[in-house]
């Protein structure tokens, strides 16, 4: 009886363990990529629907499945736990979620940086300094929080001078309409929605810290190392769409209309969001940006902010605990590099070698 019970236990437990452990990573030929709705990531949706991703995957003899996830943080968590091989995210979230969880990640494509898409908005007040003593509604620990911290710094205030209220992005616009809320920090399309309401003043936005909030396509480093084809196919597909988008012809207009529709707005709305986004339409520009010294110092600021807010985990003794590799050098612990900016695939695209 006891033996049978043991057998039963083993029979029941083993398959569950197999289910929850990560599949062993080896060279394979089918990959999963996750994306979420944001102005700088809509091209992935278009590339998927227009068959551009498939075309490039076929060229390299692999399969790429592109999945839209409705919840941004959930998509990164899924990527971190091994459910996806690649995922779109910002530079800060790449550091604080996968890298801080020990998942070595590579920024394969530097797509754009926010150039006004994220903003601090005050109701009936005109200067950032007026924020002192107010409650600020934002998604805590997100890039909004980082932007706010940078903004406060610029006028000699700190987070102690305000009180942050964690607010879901889905409800930000509704919340702003209530009389209790006098200050918010959020991103587009919510910013433009809120700016349409009376009394709203944009007092600080990401164009004042250009190049610090960066939107990336992040790939698991080990997967990329074993399957460079995945990197080539994704990069190739991306810059094909970039070429389409940056054109002035009907094709560019059609593509942007499709992207606007998919993100819940129209061509006009999408164009206005693009205006506050610095897209790297040319691979060469993205390479220059990635190779710049500024990227390293940006990541140092982001790491410092993340450490101060406990985002690098309990085990982190200081901001330099996680190494960040950039072409200009490694920031932090060289023995614990978990986030890599690798311009080599974008360079191939720039050289026309894909």
């Amino acid at each position: 009886m006891k033996n049978r019970f043991k057998k039963l236990l083993v029979l029941l437990v083993l398959p569950m363990c197999v289910l929850v452990t990560q599949p062993v990573m080896a060279a394979k030929d089918s990959f999963k990529v996750a994306w979420t709705i944001y102005v700088g990531w809509m091209p992935w949706d278009y590339a998927n629907n227009a068959g551009i991703v498939k075309k490039w995957a076929d060229k390299y003899g692999i399969e790429i499945e592109v999945t839209q996830i409705n919840d941004y943080v959930e998509s990164i968590n899924q990527y971190t736990s091994g459910g996806f091989d690649a995922c779109v995210m910002t530079n800060m979230d790449a550091l604080t979620i996968p890298s801080a969880s020990g998942v070595d990640s590579t920024a394969l494509i530097v797509g754009d940086f926010s150039n006004g898409n994220d903003a601090v908005i005050l109701k009936n007040k005109k200067k950032l300094k007026d924020i002192k003593g107010q409650k600020v509604n934002l998604v805590e620990l997100s890039v909004s929080h980082y932007l706010l911290a940078r903004g406060l710094e610029s006028v000699g205030l700190t987070e102690k001078d305000i009180k942050v209220v964690n607010t879901s992005d889905a409800d930000m616009v509704a919340v702003y309409g209530t009389k209790d809320v006098s200050a918010v920090t959020t991103w587009n399309p919510l910013v433009s929605e809120i700016m349409n309401m009376p009394g709203s003043n944009k007092v600080f936005d990401s164009s004042q810290i250009p190049g610090e909030i960066i939107d990336l396509m992040v790939v698991n480093t080990e997967t990329l190392k074993k399957n460079p084809k995945l990197g080539k196919a994704l990069t190739g597909a991306w810059y094909e769409i970039m070429a389409v988008m940056s054109g002035k012809d009907k094709k560019a207009k059609d593509a942007k209309t499709a992207m606007g529709k998919a993100s819940g707005t129209d061509l006009k709305g999408y164009n206005s969001q693009l205006a506050s986004t610095k897209m790297f339409y040319k691979a060469a520009d993205a390479v220059t940006f990635t190779k710049s010294k500024a990227l390293k110092s940006t990541m140092a600021k982001v790491a410092k902010f993340s450490f101060e807010h406990g985002l690098l985990g309990d085990g982190a003794p200081d901001a330099e605990f996680i190494g960040i590799e950039t072409p200009a050098g490694v920031y932090g612990d060289k023995k614990n590099v978990k986030l890599r900016f690798n311009p080599s695939f974008m360079q191939m695209a720039a050289d026309g070698k894909l």
Binding site: L9, L12, V13, M16, C17, V20, T21, Q22, V73, N77, T80, S81, T96, I97, A100, S101, G102, V103, N137, V139, E140, L141, S142, K163, V164, V165, N166, T167, S168, D171, A174, V175, G177, T178, K179, D180, V181, L311, G313, D314, G315
Partner: protein, 272 residues
């Protein structure tokens, strides 16, 4: 050979059988967590028991560096306050409206269809309206819980009042009782234990609405913490919080049950 339906486990075996699923989940978890940690020692998805203990120690036993508060306990306190207020208000409204609806046909004709309709509106779908009407503070969180569970309690109370034997009402009337006296002396004592039973059943829903409210706009609370640390996949905090919430609900349920048994032993006479 006794039939299976007539065979009962003895006390010890029954406790062991009851514990089995829990032990099974625990072992599965530990094995899976070990396997993942072996591959990546900083995996956050299935943290080890010791790292969870560490996280709890940090939140519950040491004051927070930023505010000097014991976060675990302040979270618990604010969540329980909201939950208590929400359930208390719902119980009061539910009792009054339920009895009046059940006892007075004119009121029933007037309100019953409306309450039925209201109870079918998913509260989370009207959140933006709640925010605009009740603001963003504590009030809107309590109101969300109340809106979520009051209609259910009213309907339940109403049907319980109508289930009371009509002979009782007739007898009370032949003895000269007025409507008011019948409500206070015949109906009220009989539906009070049923109110507690309804509250126990709506606890789960009340927690759901509380956590939803805290996730949307808040500065403290159990739901707030879970949704905040989810941003960096801190399962070592989330899992103990989930267990804690489960324990709290279990404890509240137990309290309500004991209260009911103490106050209304006649109601539970048949249970034993």
């Amino acid at each position: 050979m006794k039939r299976l339906i007539n065979r009962y486990p003895d006390r010890t075996l029954s406790v062991m059988l009851g514990a089995l699923p829990f032990i099974f989940i625990l072992i599965t978890y530990i094995m899976a967590s070990d396997a993942r940690l072996e591959e990546n020692s900083r995996d956050k998805l299935l943290p080890s028991i010791s790292s969870m203990a560490n996280a709890v120690d940090k939140l519950a036993m040491q004051p927070s560096k930023r505010s000097g508060e014991y976060l675990f306990w302040t979270d618990t306190e604010s969540s329980l306050t909201r939950l208590g207020l929400g359930i208390g208000i719902s119980a009061l409204i539910g009792l009054v409206f339920g009895i009046v609806n059940g006892a007075i046909p004119y009121v029933r004709a007037n309100f019953s269809p409306f309450i039925t309709a209201i109870s079918l509106v998913p509260p989370l779908a009207v959140l933006p309206i709640l925010f605009i009407v009740f603001g963003l503070g504590e009030l809107s969180k309590v109101v969300l819980i109340a809106i979520g569970i009051t209609p259910f309690i009213i309907r339940d109370m109403q049907s319980k009042v109508m289930e009371l034997p009509s002979e009782q009402m007739i007898k009370a009337q032949t003895l000269g009782a007025s409507t008011w006296l019948i409500i206070i002396r015949v109906i009220l004592p009989q539906v009070l234990p049923r109110l507690i039973a309804a509250l126990r059943l709506s606890l789960g829903a009340a927690w759901l609405f509380l956590i939803a409210a805290e996730a949307i706009a808040s500065t403290d609370g159990l739901g707030y913490r879970i949704f905040l640390v989810r941003r960096y996949l801190a399962m070592d905090i989330i899992l103990p919080y989930v267990i804690w919430i489960t324990f709290l609900s279990f404890f509240i349920d137990y309290l309500l049950k004991t209260l009911s048994e103490c106050l209304f032993p006649w109601f539970h006479a048949e249970d034993k």
